[in-house]
Symmetry: C2
Subunit: 347 residues, 2 copies
DNA sequence: TTTTATTGTGCAAACATTTGCACAATAAAA
DNA sequence: TTTTATTGTGCAAATGTTTGCACAATAAAA
C-alpha cells in the first residue's frame, strides 16, 4: 500500500522488503564474504526481480571511488586515436568502467585545464596522449602525486614516473627497411616526419641502422624531411628523390600518405612499382589498400594499444593500495604488412 | 594551525575561513541573486586564492543532476562517427559538460545494456546513433519516458517522439546528380548501398528524382546495388556498368570508396575522367583528395552534425522543467565539393 | 512611528551508500 | 560446562552539497 511515487528504488526499499538492514544489502552487492550464501541468494533474487541497481553517484560519493576513466587525446577524429580509444572502451567497458573523453587539440593550456578537471574528482584513472606542445610536465606530475593512476600512450615523455605504452618505432622502421633489403633493394631513401619529434626520429634511426647493418651506405641525399607528412609534401619529396643522379630503388616512408604520394608520382614517371622501385609506408591507413598498387606498410595495432593501456591502467586502479607496481614502458608489437608495392622476398 | 591533512578542500573550510555559512558559499558558487555583490567578491577571491572547486560527485548526489552526456555510436573508429563525436565534445565541453562514450558495435542487445546503464544514473542526456540491428525501440521509449533528454543522429527512426539530426540524403544525392547533369551528362548510373537501409534508399531516390526532373530516363540497368559499399564491390559495380551496350557518361556513387573504385577501373579501361565519364562520390573521405583525379563528392559535415546534436540536447537538458520543446528533425546541410572527377559547369 | 516589504544570511535536513564497530548466535576448544 | 573463536547481521555515523524555511536587518510605505 506504498505511495506509488516513481522515485528510484534504494537499498532501503530492498531492505524493508526483505526484513534486512541496508548494510546487508550493500554487502551482498559488493559480495562481502561475511554474508551467508542464503541471504546472498535471497537478496540477489529480489534484485533481479525488481531490476534494482545501485545509484552510482551515491556510491561514488560515499566510497570516494568512481568507475570512470578519463581519456585525453589531441583529437578523436584522427584515425589512430579513434582506434586507440575504441580499444580502450572495449576493454574497460568489459570491466564496468566508463570512458570520458577530452580533446586537447594539441594545446598545452587545454591539456592542463582538462587534467585539473579530472583531478577534481571524476577520474578513477587517466589515459593520455600528451599534446605536441607539451614541454613542461608539472601538470602530469601533479596527477601522479595526487595518486591518480596515469598511463601515457603513443608519445613518450622522458623522466616521468608512470606507465607508457607505445610502439617500437625504431624496430618497426628497421623491419620495414630490412624487408626492402631482403627483396633486393640496394639504394633506399627515407621520407621522414619532423625529426624533432621523438617517434619520427626513431623511425629515421631504425631505417639508418638497417642500412648500415646490411652494408648499405646512407647519405644525406637519401633523407627527405617533411613538416607534417602530408600527401602534398610526399609528392614534393618523391619528385626530389626521383631526380637523384644515382637512382634509388626503394623508399621507406614514415606514413602512408607520403607513401601514396610517392607511388602515384613514380607511376606518373612510368617507373614501375615494385619492379623498379619498392615503396613501403607506415601505419596501415585505409588508403594503403586502395592505391594501385596496394602499399606495403607497418600496422601499428592502435586498437590493441588501447587495450593494453586500459589493462595496465585498471591494474593500477585496482591495486592502488596494494603493491606499488613499478612503472614500465610497454612496447606494442607492430606488424609488417606486405602488399604489392614491394617486391616479394625470393625464397 | 590546522591539521595539515591532504583531504580536499570543502565548502565548509571556505566558510570557516571567511566566517560565513556553507549555504552562502554554495549560493555564491551557483550565482544565486540573493547574495550581495560584496560577499560574492569575497568568496570568489578566496576561491581563486585557494584554487577551490566543488566536489562534482557530492554536488550531483545532492542535486540529482550531472554534467555528463552519454554518447553511443556503433563504433568510434569509423571516420564519420569520430567526427560527430569530436563535434559533440567541442560544443559540450565549452558548456561544462563531459562526454562519456559507448560502442554498440551495431548490436541491439549491447545498445539496450548501454541505455540501461545510462538511465541508471549518470547521464544528463543521451546522444545516440541507433545500431543497424535496432528494430524495436522500447528501450529508447523508456529513456524518453524516464525524462532523460535524447537526441538521435544520422539514422532516423520513425514514430519516435524525440529530436533527430541527420543530413538530407535525398537532397544531397539530388544535388550531386544535378551537378553531373549541369555539366552535360546524359546517361547517369548509380552505385548504391543496401536499399533497405533508409539513408541509401533516400540517396537513390534523390538520384532518380534529379533524372526525371531533367528529362533524363532512368532504367534499372543504371542501378547497381552493393551490399556494403566496399571498394571491392565498387570495382565489380563499375566493371558491370562499363559494359552497358548503351554507354554511360556519369556515375553517382553512394560513398567515396565505390567512387574511388570506379575511378580506378575506368582509368584502367582508358576511359578518361572527366572527359568521357564523370564520377561523384559521397561523404568526402580523405581518399577522395588522393585518388587521381581527385573525386568530387558530398561533404556530410559530420563535425557540424555533432555540434548541432550537442546543442539541441543541452537545450533540452537545461529547459527540462520549462517549456517542453517540440521535437524536430534537423537537417544538416551538405556541401557539394567539386574536384577533378567531374567536368566543370560551363558558364 | 508603526506596519509591510525587501534583502542577505544561516540552520538543519536530506540525498543513498559504505563501513567501523558492536553484538548475538553458533561452533570449536578447553 | 566454561571459555574462546567464528560467523552473520545490524546500528549509526559519515560523506559534501543544496535548498526550504526562518529570521534579522534594513528600506519603503502608511
Amino acid at each position: 500500500m506504498k505511495k506509488s511515487d516513481s522515485r528510484r528504488l534504494t537499498i532501503k526499499d530492498l531492505a524493508k522488503e526483505l526484513n534486512l538492514s541496508s548494510s546487508t544489502i550493500s554487502r551482498v552487492l559488493s559480495n562481502n564474504p561475511r554474508i551467508s550464501e542464503a541471504t546472498k541468494k535471497l537478496v540477489n533474487d529480489k534484485v533481479k526481480e525488481l531490476g534494482f541497481s545501485l545509484d552510482p553517484i551515491a556510491s561514488s560519493f560515499r566510497s570516494k571511488k568512481t568507475k570512470s576513466i578519463g581519456v585525453v587525446a589531441p583529437r578523436i577524429d584522427v584515425d589512430f586515436h579513434s582506434k586507440v580509444i575504441s580499444g580502450i572502451e572495449d576493454y574497460a567497458s568489459e570491466l564496468g568502467y566508463q570512458i570520458t573523453i577530452f580533446q586537447s587539440k594539441d594545446s598545452y593550456i587545454k591539456e592542463k585545464e582538462i587534467l585539473k578537471l579530472l583531478e577534481t574528482s571524476l577520474a578513477a584513472g587517466i589515459i593520455i596522449c600528451p599534446s605536441l606542445e607539451t614541454q613542461k610536465v608539472d601538470h602530469l606530475k601533479k596527477v601522479i602525486k595526487s595518486n591518480i593512476p596515469l598511463v601515457l600512450y603513443d608519445r613518450p615523455i622522458e623522466n616521468l614516473d608512470t606507465n607508457i605504452v607505445c610502439i617500437n618505432d625504431y624496430q618497426a622502421s628497421y623491419d620495414a627497411t630490412k624487408h626492402l633489403i631482403n627483396t633486393g633493394c640496394k639504394r633506399i631513401a627515407h621520407i621522414s616526419g619532423n625529426l624533432n619529434v621523438n617517434i619520427f626520429n626513431k623511425r629515421f634511426e631504425g631505417y639508418k641502422a638497417a642500412l648500415v647493418d646490411n652494408d648499405l651506405e646512407f647519405e644525406d641525399a637519401l633523407l627527405y624531411q617533411t613538416h607534417n607528412l602530408s600527401y602534398q609534401e610526399g609528392l614534393v619529396a618523391a619528385e626530389k628523390l626521383s631526380k637523384l643522379k644515382n637512382p634509388i630503388d626503394g623508399i621507406v616512408c614514415a606514413n602512408d600518405y607520403t607513401a601514396s604520394a610517392a607511388v602515384q608520382l613514380f607511376k606518373k614517371l612510368n617507373i614501375s612499382i615494385p619492379e623498379n622501385i619498392s615503396i613501403i609506408g607506415f601505419s596501415n591507413y585505409p588508403i594503403s589498400t586502395i592505391i594501385e598498387p596496394n602499399i606495403s606498410t607497418i600496422d601499428d595495432n592502435a586498437y590493441y594499444m588501447g587495450n593494453i593501456a586500459a589493462k595496465i591502467l585498471i591494474q593500477q586502479i585496482e591495486d592502488k593500495f596494494q603493491k606499488k607496481i613499478d612503472h614500465q614502458e610497454i612496447l606494442v608489437k607492430t606488424d609488417l604488412i606486405i602488399r604489392d608495392s614491394t617486391k616479394k622476398v625470393k625464397k
